[in-house]
Amino acid sequence: MNTIASPALPGIAPAVLDDPVELRRYTRFSESQGQPAAESSLRLGGLHCAACAGLIEDALRRVDGVLEARVDPAAERALVRWDPARTRASALVAAVQAAGYQAVPDTAAAARTLRRAEARRLLWRVFVAGFCAMQIMMLATPAYVAAPGELTPDMLQLLQWGSWLLALPVMMFSAGPFFSGAWRALRTRRIGMDVPVALGIAVAFVASSGAAFDPAGPFGAEPYFDSLTMFVSFLLAGRYLEMKARHRAAETLEQALDVLPQTAQRLDEHGIAHPVSVQRLAPGDRVRVAVGDSFPADGVLLDAPTQADESLLSGESRPVPKAPGEHVVAGSLNLGAPVTVRVERVGPDTRYEAIVALMRDAVSRRPQAVRAVDRWAGPFLWAVLLLAGAAALAWQAIDPARSVWVAVSVLIVTCPCALSLATPAALLGATAGLARRGVLLQRLEALEALAGVKQVFLDKTGTLTDARPAWCGATPLAPMGAAQQAALLQQAAELAAHSRHPLSQALCEAVPAAGAFEWKAVREQPGAGLEAQDAQGRLWRMGSAAWLGLAPAPQSGASPQAWFGPPGQPLLRLSFDESLRSDAAAAVQSLQAQGLALALLSGDDDERVRELAQRLGIASAVGAATPERKLAVLREAQARGARVAMVGDGVNDAPVLAQADVSFAMGHGALVARSHADAVVLSGRIGDVAQAHQLARRTVRVIRQNLAWSAFYNLACVPLALAGLLPPWAAGLGMAFSSLLVVLNALRLAR
């Protein structure tokens, strides 16, 4: 199951790199000074220090036709401008490889550049607002601390003018997003959070300007540039935090969907293989698939029998034998022998893509909580506007000089600044805390759902057990001594070294080859076993019971076994078992101790799943489940009203992960599963899920405290503002303090 998530960058054939279809995915063509130029983004591998970047740049610049090369060592990316008339993209990749590094096309570069620009712009807005707010604070201080009469009126005037000048960049640049957001909302006849904020800022600025330049005018003599700018910088800082979280989620998703150009070996009419892009394949093409490669498309096996590892699709960890004429599935791995396949379905028609589509469907149905907040926000915002308007009207009658200020105070004090920070700050704090424990949270809202989870579904392979079988012992089938048995086992291990079958690999790992035996004429019969001759020319076989000439053993449900010996008279029975992860039992106990109901949900054989569940003390187990069946089981549990978490790691788990209220993917799992899970458990230890659940509960407590405090603050201050007892500066200050309190409370979670 680790094949897709392998960290090493794969090699790609030059013909595929230069294929215009693929080239367009990572290269921008432009023209400067009448000269055509191409700009390619490459993802680099093998960098270990900043000096490597210089070496790669040099190597790229030495290629004839390269105009400019820039390497970003932190991001491990290169941006190369080159002349399409003088060189090719494959030459760039070759140059990097010749320098001792790896390079593959970077298809997600455009989106990343956009995100970076967005983050930079917003950070700059925050900085400008914060910087100017501090300057204004300095100019405003004398008016607060001076004794009456100490400050001459013209000095006060000068300070106010200075404040006005410094407030200009904040209003015109930093507060831009609020105004444009409010304008967008108004144009579509909706009301958004930006409307009262923009209105409050605009009214406060106009009134303050009036007060600064015409102290005798209708706005009174007291400008509030300091509270105004502080208010803007706090709000912007909150937005920046939110954007950061959003970008990180987008990045992880992109990494998974950023599928590298895959190469297929297409046969022409003379039977000669040519590397082409997978996207160029059409139904009817014949492709050659080497052992260990994945099938590029759904198709029919033509020449030789082989075995396919379909664990990514069906969850079944044992290789499936395939005879000529049988169908193979895109994305599964060819394990047995090099074969030729006739392509039947490509691209979106393949079963792999169908599973991905199933999962997208499940994802798109989810964000109901978000819409609920929107529905609730509308009436609230109208109420705020009406309240402020009514207050202004009422004070028009009582004291016209104060009516504007009361309205501004109401708008500022009701601004749900602490309220809107309460949840994201706590979630971000918890995210940081989780990251320190090796759990990467991809969707912030998942924490709230996790705290309420009642039932946890666990996948078996790769979650509770290691994905690969482990050798657990040999049983002699004929009378023999211990020394003889050890020698036979050694012999078997030497033979197994010739095969890539998972069972052979497990045996080789357990019994290291010593090179004592020499096997001749080794042949692998896919789906059956190995055959070879020893030094005396005697025929030996290793593999299934039928291959050794025994009656097929009744072992369909039990753990896998293999036999070894001359045909017809097996001498050793080799037993294998899926190795239980060392921490699985403890993790299951701690999850149960937290009051969670556990259930196993696996695509593997039913009997094996039940046996494992019994061993771990898990009450409920469903085996032989297809992705559709898993989805149905999960929906059933949700229909009973339980909040459900799912822990899995394969592509076939992805739709189920998306349907669950909270989903965890193991760090070594398939990329698709990782990108659609709410959280990725980097360590692959299931015990981390228990810790995450605990932290989620604490997070929800902190969120409740934060919400209670900010709601209390807002509710308590609105009457004060309406009564004219709360000047705007106090409203702004109170808002800042309550925001700070909320953030500090949230930071407790990060430890």
Binding site: A50, F131, C132, Q135, L158, L159, L166
Partner: protein, 49 residues
């Protein structure tokens, strides 16, 4: 204290100027790659623009 009438406008203008210079440096890409600029002196290639 008359000097304040000169110093206050000056401080305001200075603050705006600092903001402007920093904006120029930031958008000019001077903070893009802080680590490699320091190491450039150690490489024997010709200095880059």
């Amino acid at each position: 204290m008359d000097i304040l009438f000169l110093l206050i406008p000056m401080s305001v203008v200075l603050a705006l100027a600092v903001l402007g210079v920093f904006a120029w440096a930031l958008h000019d890409g001077q903070f893009d790659d802080l680590q490699r600029e320091g190491e450039r002196i150690l490489s024997d290639e010709a200095p880059r623009a």
